[in-house]
């Protein structure tokens, strides 16, 4: 793991050339002149410990709260609150505490959101059986392709009309069209966006995803949707995979299955979008910009340099797990892959805690109303289009 002090003189962990906004040397409350000094590794290690402690607290609350409220009027609500909620809330509380004590910027090197979420996504690949997707999720693939294309292009177009920077447009479009924070991270790596642009996009994703976990299942009931259609709607609409899982589970098991298939399909297409963005930014947006002479004459090798490598790990994990499951009994395979899923949840919790710890209200205020307008408008388009596609493609579908 790179020490933030090193990154302060070389890069951010989003691939941004170091300026004033690097992990461990952030602007803002920096009266001690921290920006000019390397942060000792001990602070980074302490930051990692902070994330681990909050993650453990998340795991504890996830299990203890439903047990505590069993048999009470709050039983359903307590059971409905999933680990992303606890992780983000604890991260935000930790953020406020550390900011008040002046420790946040010193510990920030340990808030490795990208590493945690990318590792979790690689492990997510192990839960995806390609043959199952191919046979049972044909409608999901069609829905994902149509939905991602339409919502991405709408968001990209509206962002352009409102004059947003190209890289922020790419991040917002990927986040709202595909799978939230992880897609924004993939897009950030592909287009080499600024760190604050990624933080801002991630903040928007969380702000919109959290209420969606509860609103969409409620609306599915109001509309009288079947579990399968509700699942397809949730999976195609909510941005983050964890939030999709939480919302699908609120509706029921069949809804959860369909929602997961749809979301996994979107996850699988994330690499395709990353490649397309890499190509677009390498050959068009940055063409002619004065910078590295090699970059002003883009080569095919740039595609490889900017490709998010963890996507390869994601695919490799799926291939390995699919092969493994063909060599053992179904029960044994389910139990073993369940261990990988537990590890994946831990990495997602670490990532969500880190997002809460890194959250900066200032980044939302500084960006102004236009990105919020783009994201909100694209979310509305996503909700309506996803509902239409879910009704069209999944009305006769049975997850049983």
């Amino acid at each position: 793991m790179t020490d933030p002090g090193e990154r302060a003189t070389a890069q951010t962990n989003t691939g941004e050339p170091a300026t004033e906004h690097t992990a461990g040397t952030r602007r803002g409350d920096d009266p001690a002149g921290l920006e000019a000094r390397p942060v000792p590794r001990a602070w980074t290690a302490l930051g990692v410990v902070t994330v681990l402690v909050l993650a453990a607290a998340t795991r504890f609350l996830e299990q203890a709260v439903p047990e505590t409220f069993t048999g009470t009027a709050l039983e359903d609500l307590a059971a409905a609150i999933e680990y992303p909620v606890y992780a983000i809330v604890l991260g935000l509380l930790g953020n406020a505490l550390l900011a008040a004590t002046g420790l946040r910027d010193r510990l920030a090197g340990g808030f490795r959101t990208e590493f945690f979420i990318k590792t979790g996504l690689v492990l997510l690949g192990a839960s995806i059986n390609l043959s199952v997707i191919a046979t049972a999720a044909g409608p999901a693939i069609l829905q994902a392709v149509v939905l991602i294309s339409a919502v991405f292009l709408f968001s990209w177009w509206l962002g352009g009309r409102l004059g947003l920077p190209e890289k922020l447009r790419a991040l917002l479009s990927a986040a709202v069209a595909i799978c939230g924070v992880s897609a924004a991270i993939a897009a950030a790596g592909a287009v080499q966006a600024k760190r604050e642009q990624l933080a801002y996009s991630a903040s928007l994703v969380i702000v919109f995803a959290l209420p969606s976990i509860f609103i969409l299942p409620w609306l599915a009931g109001v509309f009288g949707l079947s579990p399968e259609v509700a699942g397809a709607w949730i999976g195609g609409n909510i941005d983050t995979t964890a939030a999709v899982t939480a919302a699908g589970a609120l509706v029921g098991e069949e809804s959860l299955q369909v929602a997961s298939i749809v979301k996994v399909t979107q996850n699988a297409l994330m690499g395709v979008v990353a490649i397309a963005l890499t190509a677009y930014f390498a050959f068009r947006v940055e063409r002619g910009v004065e910078r590295d002479p090699a970059a002003s004459h883009p080569r095919l090798a740039d595609l490889w340099h900017r490709f998010p490598k963890f996507v390869l790990g994601f695919v490799a994990a799926s291939v390995i797990a699919t092969w493994y499951l063909s060599t053992v009994t179904a029960a044994e395979g389910k139990a073993v892959i369940g261990v990988a899923n537990d590890l994946r949840v831990w990495f997602f919790i670490l990532a969500f805690v880190s997002i809460g710890l890194e959250f900066r209200v200032a980044s939302l205020k500084e960006a102004g109303w236009r990105p919020v307008g783009v994201f909100a408008s694209a979310t509305v388009v996503n909700v309506v289009l996803a509902l239409g596609l879910a009704l069209l493609l999944f009305s006769g579908f049975s997850a049983g």
């Binding site: 793991m1 790179t2 990154r7 070389a10 890069q11 962990n13 989003t14 691939g15 941004e16 050339p17 170091a18 453990a56 795991r59 990208e114 590493f115 990318k118 590792t119 979790g120 996504l121 690689v122 492990l123 690949g125 192990a126 790596g189 080499q192 004065e290 910078r291 590295d292 002479p293 090699a294 970059a295 340099h305 900017r306 998010p308 490598k309 963890f310 390869l312 790990g313 490799a316 994990a317 390995i320 797990a321 493994y324 139990a335 073993v336 892959i337 369940g338 261990v339 990988a340 537990d342 590890l343 831990w346």
Partner: protein
């Protein structure tokens, strides 16, 4: 800052970004293999 310095930073940026991607890939796949081999057994992950 001169152009050569900018170019040097750009190369350093890409190298380190690739390093973090590969780190996540290696850690994720290593954990998966350890699970499949039974080194990380069921019930160990809280």
């Amino acid at each position: 800052m001169g152009e050569s310095e900018s170019a040097r930073r750009e190369r350093g940026t890409r190298k380190r970004a690739i390093g973090e991607d590969w780190a996540a890939t290696i850690v994720g796949l290593l954990l998966l293999i350890l699970v499949l081999l039974g080194v990380i057994p069921q019930g160990v992950i809280p």
